[in-house]
Symmetry: C2
Subunit: 397 residues, 2 copies
């Protein structure tokens, strides 16, 4: 044993390859480089700068004070499943049964469980990229093969080539992970595109895992992005993964949900039982408050993001050194910098030269390697300052 190595170094080779080879996030690498810089403006993760609103924190605190600290329903407390049904009824204008909703310990856990339900060794899942890196990682860690289909890119705008997507379908394909509005690109499927995706699902008998977590964050004046809810039939192969993180500024709470056919209830309950065994009641009480009393807060968040989007888009465009399109949805500006194709190096450089933290496109898979992702869910003053610094750094480079 070499005492210069941490204990256990010789044992790592003895772990399963799927575990050993789970990739470190490419975002985290840049964060670790810049984490302790004085005055750095962190726009690298998908998190705003507002804490969870007090009415949600207070609901959780009341539950704690009341001693709600025992085991509970693996599927989530009935009050939360009912609140989820009400929320969906308001948002999508159609009836929902509480039995379609299953509370999880994060959108990430929703994804893990859904991947496990539909794909394993020998299976393939199709992922349009650039995409949230955890799609690819959750698929690989689950033993299935992620098949990345790069989206088309032209002057800052991404589009989905449905023909290329269908061409990627093989007999091993079990589903497609469709994130709309998209992190990191802002691409937002139109109703026609969703209909085409649903037709592929029906034709090939494959699942759509729908990540519509940014569905409230759209900037064309509509109340929400198009949703598979608008077009699907009860027996379609569509499962939704969702989170409380973005709409209600609850990133740190680790609570999300799965929306799936009622008949999957026992399967999902078992998979929750054998992964985290449920979510704390006091966290769920906060989530109920979020759903029932959170609309004003969400409206404020969307208005704030719209202003952030304007500041960032106009400011970066003014450099004449970048390609970008104002995103249709979500709260990220994706852009490329002329003559700077190594986004990992560029993101590290911008920590030094601009003291601004951005996520490198390399983190998001094929098709996004040359770009950078900037999260604009933040106050206007920070964003204005960040853009000024980026302008200076990019125009000096």
């Amino acid at each position: 044993m070499n005492s210069a190595l941490p204990t256990g170094s010789t044992l790592i080779a003895d772990l399963r390859p799927e575990a050993r080879e789970a990739p470190e996030s490419g975002i985290v690498e840049v964060m670790n480089y810049g984490r302790l810089r004085e005055g750095l403006i962190p726009l690298w993760v998908g998190e705003g700068d507002l804490p969870t609103p007090a009415f949600i924190r207070d609901a959780a605190a009341r539950s704690l004070a009341a001693g709600e600290t025992f085991y509970t329903w693996q599927r989530g407390i009935p009050e939360l499943r009912e609140a989820l049904a009400r929320y969906h009824e308001r948002l999508y204008g159609q009836p929902f049964s509480p039995e379609r909703f299953f509370v999880t310990g994060s959108g990430m856990q929703s994804l893990q469980i859904v991947v496990r339900m539909i794909a394993g060794p020998g299976d393939e899942l199709i992922i349009p990229t650039p995409a949230w890196p955890n799609f690819v990682a959750a698929t690989s860690v689950g033993g299935a093969r992620p098949v990345c289909v790069p989206m088309e890119y032209d002057q800052g705008r991404f589009t989905l080539d449905l023909g290329k997507l269908e061409a990627a379908i093989t007999p091993k394909t079990r589903g497609m992970l469709i994130n709309s509005p998209s992190n990191p690109t802002g691409w937002t499927a139109t109703k026609a595109e969703q209909e085409a995706l649903l037709a592929l699902s029906r034709k090939h008998g494959i699942w759509i895992v729908a990540d519509e977590i940014y569905g409230r964050f759209v900037y064309d004046g509509s109340a929400r992005a198009p949703s598979f809810h608008d077009i699907m039939a009860p027996e379609d192969r569509v499962i939704f993964v969702q989170t409380f993180s973005k709409n209600w500024a609850m990133t740190g709470w680790r609570i999300g949900w799965i929306e799936a056919p009622e008949a999957f209830g026992q399967v999902i309950e078992n998979l929750i039982q054998y992964s985290t065994s449920g979510s704390p009641v006091f966290v769920q009480r906060g989530a109920v408050a979020a759903l029932d009393e959170g609309e004003d807060f969400i409206a404020g968040q969307i208005a704030r993001a719209a202003e952030g989007r304007r500041i960032v888009h106009e400011g970066l465009k003014a450099t004449n050194r970048v390609s970008l399109a104002a995103p249709v949805g979500a709260f990220y500006q994706f852009f490329t910098v002329d003559g700077r194709e190594d986004s990992r190096k560029l993101a590290l450089d911008l920590v030094d030269t601009a003291n601004v933290g951005l996520a490198p496109g390399t983190a998001f898979g094929p098709g996004g390697e040359k770009g950078l992702r900037l999260c604009f869910a933040r106050n206007a003053a920070d964003l204005t300052e960040a853009v000024a610094r980026l302008q200076k750094a990019l125009m000096a480079a």
Copy 2:
């Protein structure tokens, strides 16, 4: 589509078999049967009747009030990892690095991650049974094969046959899940038995997954049960899965930890990232308070369990209808009833005849099918009443 079936019924066949076939807990079946009975005394799950103490709840509430609602370290906040190191130093009398500790969203998640690290399709994990059902389920859901090795049973007492255990090791064996003190049997490995198990690990190059979560609950006057910590070397293949649930009455909080070689840090961090992406800071603040200020509470819990153990053991023994031994550790009384070998039916019957909820031995795998598990982590009055009812029901039967 048959409208009498829940939506999606036709799609279940389209899910992965590991997911579809994840077993429903045999304990939950009995709970569902008795859940709404007026006055039922519930001794079926591994949970006491005390809420989490106020000093822990208050620490979480302070964190919430301070707005600690953002993403945090995937491995756990440094303060909690340091508190875990201090706690282990006090308990085991040796130095521990905080870098050995990784915060998870429950003991269950610890188990899921550790199983994923060491075993997958084509691999086997050995599980002495009767055992907590989630050992077998987590192994199967992870795609590996659980190999149950029934313990020897004689007049209420379980013993581990090390020869039988070694005979179960094959070239596919990747590890052994060793729970001591045991849920449900109360079996507690002696130091000599742990040395023999460690020798098997070294000889065959297989992992020990050590579940010592009931290690504080022993009734022979010693401060804790023997631990692999007492005998292992830094490069041994031993990983610990742990939880805050039992010692600190935090079942509903969903927080636990993994203790593993430092060198595994990045692998474990990645697996946390791709399953739940960390634990809430405010929950972790509660856990820090538990570790640093919880010794009086734990002492009270142990004294209470010792009294519960006495009430239950003496009371059941007095019926002359049961076989049982007072458990060495943990807080369960496992017992068989003469002439009643169908424990599932007996547990359901006792809901009706005694209005007491017990867990059927069938839930715990080979070797425990004929028994019942009673959790005695409860106030003396409830236990006295439960035992009186059980006496009456068993002696009438």
